[in-house]
Subunit: 604 residues, 2 copies
C-alpha cells in the first residue's frame, strides 16, 4: 500500500533545538577557550553541522527504509551488508565520524564530544545502523589508542581512524552474556609477538561486512593460566586479516551466522569463531589480565552513546508523529458540531498529550546526552584539575541514568509515536514502527537496564559513600539559583529542591540497610534508577526552562517565542506529571516490599 | 542462528491457572444451573478445554513461527494466506470456534462466553492471527443473527457459523479512521432486494484469504440521501461472492493491496474496493441508518475480545521468559563467590521483579477478561432481570478498562519478556520479540486507547451520572467482605476501600468541572482510565487472593500451595507498587495541569 498522506519532510531533529542546547543552555563557545579546542569556533561547528545535516537528511535518511527492509544477511560464508554502505561509509569518514573526537596526534580532529554528539544524533536519527558502523569503529580505535603499543596504533588503529578499515567490540560469548567474567575464549602465548586465539563470540555488531577492506576486532580472551573471573581477562586486537609486512593475510576469523534482529537491521549482529584452523593471531593490548579494566574505561562513552541513539530514535519518531498529527484530519473537536468539517488530530487533547509526552521525554534525553558530552570534554580538557574531577564524577553518576532514561522512556515515547498514527502507525508504510523496533535494543546492549541499576546504586551511590550525590546536589543548587534569577516558575524550583532532598535521605536509609543486608539494600535498584532518572530530568527541564526564560526576556522573533514556550510547557508537564513520582518511589523503596525477592521459584 | 537453549515446552497458559479462575474464583458450575446452559457441566467444559489445548499446543503453536515469518501477501489480484490455514481453519471450526457462543436455534452451541473466552485465550496465545480468522467470522455472523432478516441469516450467517465461509468487519475508510461518522461508502437503492455499493475500505482484517470458499463482509455504508454523521450510516452484508439461487457469483469486491503490519502477520489487513464495475450488491441489515447502533451493540464483545488477545499474548510471553530464566545460567548471586558456578538468572532480584511484574499484569488481565465473560453470560441469561441488568452495567463500565489495561500494560509486560532474555530476546531466534510486535496492535484496533478513555469517562461515568461507579463500588464492598472472611491481608482490603472512595470523590469533582467546561473535564481522560484500571486490577487481585486464601485453608497438595502463594505474591506486589498510584493520579487529575491543552501548535 502506498502512503496516504503527504506529510512534511522529517527534519530528524530540529535545528532550533540544537542551536538552543548548544548555545543557550551549554554555551559551547566557552569550550573554544580551552587550548585543545582553540582551532574551533561556533562558526566552524556550524559548518560541520551543516554538512552533517545534509548527509543525514539526504543519503542517510533516504536509504533507511530500504536498508531496514533488506537486512544484512549471511550467505553461508560471509555477511552481505547493504550495497548502500559502499557509498555511505566513505561519506561518514569524510565528515570525520571515525576519528573526530580523537586527538590530533593520534590522527583525529580533537572535536569536542558535545559537538560530535550532535553530529551522531542527526545521523542516528536518520539511519542508526549505518551510523554505527562508524561509531563502533571509533570506539575500537580508541581502545588501541588508549592502551595499545605504538606498533598496534600504527598498524591497526590508524587504518580505522582513516576509514580504510572498520572496528568492532567482540565481548559477548554464548554462555556468558552480561557476565563478562565468564569469558572463555583462549589466548595461547607464542614465541612471536602474537597469541593464538581460539573461541566463539556472539552478538558482534558489524562483526562482518561487505564494504571495508578489513575488520579489526577488539576481543576479550583469557591467557592460558590466567586467574578466574574478571581479573583474568585480557584485551586483544584480533583482525579479520592480519598484516604481515605490508600484506594482508587471512587471520582465521570465521563468521558463522547472523542473528535476526527485530530492529537495527542494516547492522549485522553476528557470531564469530576465532582459530578454527589454529591460526588466529591476536595482539595483546596493554598488559595481561587488565582487559576488563580497559573496557570499563570506555564504558561511559559507550553507554552515553546508547543514550544518544535512544534519544535520536525517539526524536525522529516524535517529529514524524507531530507532522502527521498536524496534517491528518479526523473527527471533531469536543465542542465542535458533529456535521462540521473534520479537524486535524492535533486538536484532540489526548493526541496533544501523546505529543507533549514524547517531546518532554525525547528532548530532555537528548539534552542530558549533550550535558554528558560536555562533561566528557571538561573531564579531559578543563584547565583546573578540580573542574576536571568535578566533571568526571558527574559523568560517572549520570551515565547509567542517561543510557536508561533514553532507552526505557524512549521506548514509551516511540510507542506513542506509533499510537498517534493509529492503524497507519502499525504498518510499515510509515516509519514509526521501525523506530519502535530499533529502540528496543537500547535497554539491552552495553549493559541491560538491570545492570545499569546495579551500577548506579552499588557503584556510583554506595561506592562513593554518597559523595557523588552530594556533588550532584551542588549542581542542582546552582541550577536552582540560575532558575530564580531567570524568573523560572517558583514551584518547579521548590519541587526540584524537595525531590533532591528526598533522594538524598532515602539514599542514606538505603545505604544503612545495604550494610546490614546487601540483598535488601539492592532489591529496589530498578525503582531507585527510575526515581533518580525522574529527578535528573527535572533538573534538565529547569536548566532548559532557565535558558528559555532568558530567551524570552531578551526578546526574539515570533518563531522563537513559540520555541521557548514549548520548552516551558515541557517543564510544566514534567513537574505536574512526573516529579511527584520521586516522593512516591522513595516511599515505596523505603517500605521495601519483598514480594518478588521472597517468592519461591515454583510460585512464579 | 539456532536456538542456544532448550527450554521447557511453553504451556501457553497454565492449566492450573485456568482451573483456579473458572472453578475457585468464578464458580462457573453455577452457570450450568441456568436453563440455557443446562446441557453443560464442568465435565463437558473440561472435555472441550482438553481438545482446545491439544489444538493450541499442537498445530496452532507449531505453525506460529512459520506463519509469522511468511506473512500473507497480495499477488496483485488476491491475497495469499498461509497454506497452513487450509488445515487449521477446519480444526477451529470442528471445535466450534465459529459458532460456540451462539444460540442453538441459530446453529450455535450455546456455550457460556466465559468458557469460550478460555478457549480463545489458549488459541490466541498459540497463534493469534490464525485464531482471529475464526473469531472475526463469529462476530460478523453475530451481527447478521442479531439484526438481519431470516433470509440473510439463512444465506449468509449459516455458512459462516458452519465454517464454510469466513466473515469480516469492513468499517474503516482511508479518510475516516476512528471517526466512523465520516464513512463515505455509498449504497444506492435498486428495484430488487439489494443496494449497489461503491467505495473503499482499509484495514480489513481477513478481508481476503486463500482458504475459504467465500467471504462475507459486514460493511458500513451511507444510503443515498441519508443524514450526515453517524445517524446516516447503515449496515450491509457485502459478500465477495453473492448467492444467486444456489450459484455463487462474483460480487465486484476487489482486494487492492495488503498493509504490511509489524505483527499479526498471518492475518492480512487489506484494502478493498466495492463496486469498481458497478455491480457490487449489498443487502441491508436491519433498518436503514441504524448501522452504528448495531455496531455499538457488538462493541463490548469486540473490545473484550481485544483484551483477551492482549492478555493471551502477555501470558504466553511470560511463560517463555519464565522458562528461560529458570534454565539460563549467567552471573553470580549478590552474596555468591565471584569464582563459584553461575546461577540461573531467576536468582537475580531484578529478573524476579520483571517476572513477577509480568505475572501480576498478565494473569489479572486474563482474570478480568473472564470476569467480563461471566458478566456477558449473566447479562443474557441470568434468571432475575435485576441480575441481568447488574451484569450488563458492570460489563459496560469495565469494557474500556479490560481492553486497555490488557493492551497497554500488556505491552509493557511483553517488553519485559524480551528484556528477561536480553540480547537473545532481541532476536527472532526466540519468540518474545514476535509477541511484542503482536501486542502493539491491541492499543489501536477496536477503538484506540484514547477512544477508550473518552468512552469510560464521558459515556460510562458522566453518562450514567456516576451510577455505574456506585454499582461497581457495591461489588467492591462485597469483594472486601469476602476477603475479610477468607483472611486476606487487612491492609490490602483497606487500600482497596480507600482507593474506591478516592476515585468516587475525584469523579464527582470532575463531573462538576465537565458541566462548566467540557474540555477541562475531559482533559485527563487518559489519566482517569489509568487510575481506574489500577483500581479495577486491585479489585481483581483481592478476588484472586481471596480464592487463594480459601484454597490454602482447605489444604491441598504441595504444588497447590506454590500456586496459591504465587497469587498472593502478585496481590502483595500490586498493593505495594501499583495501588498507591490511584491516589497520586487522582490528585494529579484534580489539579488539572493544562500543559498540553493550552500549548500553541507551533510550540510542539
Amino acid at each position: 500500500m502506498t502512503k496516504q498522506l503527504n506529510i512534511m519532510a522529517n527534519p530528524l531533529i530540529r535545528d532550533r533545538l540544537v542551536d538552543f542546547l548548544l548555545n543557550e543552555v551549554l554555551h559551547v563557545s566557552d569550550l573554544c577557550d580551552l587550548p585543545e579546542f582553540e582551532d574551533y569556533s561556533t562558526e566552524t561547528f556550524d559548518l560541520l553541522l551543516d554538512s552533517v545535516r545534509k548527509l543525514a537528511r539526504g543519503p542517510m535518511f533516504e536509504t533507511y527504509r530500504e536498508m531496514n527492509d533488506a537486512p544484512a544477511h549471511f550467505d553461508g560464508k560471509r555477511v552481505i551488508t547493504s550495497e548502500r554502505m559502499k557509498d555511505l561509509y566513505p561519506r561518514l569518514v569524510e565528515l570525520g565520524m571515525t576519528n573526530a573526537t580523537r586527538p590530533k596526534d593520534a590522527g583525529g580532529q580533537q572535536l569536542p564530544c558535545v559537538i560530535m554528539g550532535v553530529c551522531a544524533a542527526y545521523l542516528s536519527a536518520a539511519n542508526v545502523s549505518a551510523t554505527c558502523f562508524a561509531t563502533l569503529s571509533i570506539g575500537a580505535g580508541h581502545l588501541i589508542e588508549a592502551f595499545g603499543s605504538h606498533i598496534l596504533r600504527e598498524r591497526y588503529m590508524a587504518p580505522i581512524y582513516s576509514g580504510e578499515w572498520t572496528g568492532t567490540m567482540a565481548l559477548t560469548e554464548p554462555h556468558a552474556g552480561s557476565s563478562l567474567g565468564d569469558v572463555a575464549t583462549k589466548a595461547l602465548p607464542t614465541d612471536g609477538e602474537h597469541y593464538l586465539i581460539s573461541g566463539s563470540k556472539i552478538f558482534i555488531s558489524g562483526g562482518d561486512n561487505s564494504f571495508s577492506e578489513n575488520i579489526v576486532h577488539l576481543a576479550l580472551a583469557r591467557i592460558e593460566g590466567a586467574p578466574a573471573g574478571i581479573r583474568g581477562i585480557s584485551l586483544f586486537v584480533v583482525p579479520a586479516k592480519r598484516l604481515e609486512g605490508t600484506d594482508l593475510v587471512d587471520n582465521d576469523v570465521t563468521p558463522t551466522g547472523t542473528f535476526h534482529k527485530m530492529g537495527w537491521r542494516a547492522l549485522p549482529s553476528i557470531a564469530l569463531t576465532f582459530g578454527e584452523a589454529g591460526d588466529c593471531h591476536g595482539y595483546l593490548v596493554g598488559e595481561p589480565h587488565r582487559g576488563m579494566r580497559y573496557m570499563f574505561q570506555m564504558m561511559n562513552e559507550a553507554r552515553i552513546g546508547v543514550g544518544l541513539h535512544a534519544a535520536a530514535t525517539a526524536l525522529v519518531a516524535y517529529e514524524e508523529s507531530l507532522a502527521y498529527a498536524k496534517e491528518r484530519p479526523q473527527g471533531r473537536a469536543l465542542k465542535g458540531k458533529a456535521d462540521g468539517p473534520q479537524v486535524n488530530i492535533i486538536e484532540h487533547a489526548d493526541v496533544r498529550r501523546m505529543l507533549l509526552r514524547q517531546k518532554a521525554i525525547s528532548e530532555s534525553a537528548f539534552a542530558l546526552v549533550l550535558i554528558c558530552g560536555q562533561y566528557m570534554d571538561l573531564s579531559r580538557y578543563a584547565t583546573e584539575a578540580a573542574e576536571r574531577e568535578r566533571a568526571e564524577k558527574l559523568l560517572e553518576l549520570l551515565t547509567p541514568v542517561t543510557k536508561t532514561f533514553a532507552a526505557e522512556q524512549g521506548f514509551e515515547s516511540n510507542a506513542l509515536a506509533v499510537q498517534v498514527l493509529g492503524g497507519a502507525g502499525y504498518t510499515s508504510e510509515y516509519l514509526p514502527e521501525a523506530w519502535l523496533r530499533d529502540q528496543k535494543l537500547n535497554s539491552i546492549h552495553e549493559g541491560t537496564t538491570g545492570i545499569q541499576s546495579l551500577d548506579l546504586l552499588a557503584r556510583k551511590v554506595f561506592g562513593t559513600g554518597g559523595a557523588s550525590l552530594v556533588g550532584f546536589a551542588k549542581e542542582i543548587a546552582l541550577t536552582i539559583e540560575a532558575g530564580k534569577s531567570a524568573g523560572v516558575e517558583e514551584s518547579w524550583l521548590k519541587a526540584l529542591e524537595t525531590a533532591t532532598a528526598d533522594v538524598g535521605e532515602l539514599s542514606q536509609v538505603l545505604g544503612m540497610r545495604a550494610m546490614a543486608d546487601a540483598e535488601a539494600g539492592m532489591r529496589h535498584s530498578h525503582d531507585y534508577l527510575d526515581m533518580f532518572g525522574t529527578l535528573v530530568i527535572g533538573w534538565v527541564w529547569v536548566r532548559l526552562a532557565t535558558a528559555a526564560s532568558r530567551g524570552i526576556k531578551n526578546g526574539g522573533a515570533r518563531a522563537d517565542k513559540s520555541f521557548y514556550d514549548g520548552q516551558l510547557r515541557c517543564a510544566q508537564y514534567w513537574f505536574a506529571n512526573e516529579m511527584p513520582r520521586v516522593k512516591e518511589l522513595a516511599r515505596r523503596i523505603e517500605v521495601g516490599d519483598d514480594s518478588y525477592a521472597a517468592m519461591d521459584h515454583d510460585s512464579f
